[in-house]
Symmetry: C2
Subunit: 175 residues, 2 copies
DNA sequence: TCTGCCATGTAAGTTGTTACATGATTAT
DNA sequence: ATAATCATGTAACAACTTACATGGCAGA
């Protein structure tokens, strides 16, 4: 359900091809929603047959032709309706927690090593997010309304990553 | 992949039926991994045909017969091997962030209302986690090794929920 | 009487993943 | 030379969700 709406949001920002979308889902938008190009193409076909988006073929020389997709009025309406509907909390689903839960089955050193590794990965992700913050949102007051909303999603990422790093520290202290 | 191992971890704690497992995945273990009873029964069949678990039929009067599953030596070994393998970070996948990202498409009041509602839900979840903490882990020193590991997973839940509440506050301030 | 619990299962549909396929252009 | 980028797609499979199905027993 949400993939459809995630695509609509991104297409609303700017009309683009499936290929372009796949890149956004691998980068910026991918921080809060992921999709492979196969999923995206499948949903684009569905969305177009429903009339929520339309495509315009762009003939190119030297590289493959592409289809530029843009959101129709109907699609825009559907997206707004969806945004206005209240949504549930998303449950945590974390492999590392299963491993830690069964941590008593293996050696303490192995767990320490794994958590330390995990902490390292979270530190890297945090650093990457903070760089984006410094680069693109150094003065939130100057941002457009649209940019301020995307900044807020980034803020969640930063907060969550900080907490992961802190939790890993707590686990390491505790073992 | 992980569902199989989550089942193995829970069955290692205590042999139980598919029905019992489904309840655990709806409660305690469900905090970090979710599964419906349909998924669980399917995986149990697979696990048994692989020889990672074995079942013992329990005939009951007045209520349906059941199968008690327990982990075999092979299953135990496979679980340990899996725990020892390093794992990747899990990406965030949050519907609310798509909605906030497209927040400029709807009225500010609607967004405020939705975020406030979300904050309320996270507060409730946090309170529930903290109650479990106070009830079952009020003295971590007295806990068994096994209980200390499950306590650490709860600690992550508490930390993440706290951060969600704080982030919602930040969003509300910012709009 | 009706709801909920116990206990397991089938079936269908939707998502998500992985692999394969094409073919020119540009950078190393 | 070789790999990566651009651009789209098919096919098969794995995972997950939702609905349907059974049937006795206990409690409000």
């Amino acid at each position: 359900m949400s993939l459809i709406h995630a695509i609509l949001v991104v297409l609303t920002e700017a009309p683009q091809s499936g290929y372009d979308l796949a890149k956004r889902f691998d980068g910026s938008v991918g921080f809060f929603w992921q999709a492979t190009h196969q999923q995206i193409y499948r949903e684009l076909n569905k969305l177009e047959s429903q009339g929520w988006i339309i495509s315009q073929p762009i003939v190119q020389s030297g590289r493959p032709d592409k289809k530029m997709f843009s959101v129709t009025d109907l699609g825009q309406q559907q997206l707004q309706d969806w945004i206005l509907q209240p949504c549930e909390l998303t449950a945590i689903k974390e492999e590392i927690l299963i491993k830690l839960y069964g941590g008593y089955l293996v050696s303490g050193e192995a767990i320490v090593k794994e958590i330390a590794h995990h902490q390292q990965l979270h530190r890297q992700k945090l650093a990457a997010f903070q760089q984006i913050e410094a680069k693109f949102f150094n003065d939130p007051a100057k941002c457009s309304k649209q940019a301020r909303f995307s900044y807020l999603t980034l803020r969640l990422g930063i907060r969550i990553e900080q907490e992961w790093v802190a939790w890993c520290e707590e686990v390491l202290q505790s073992i």
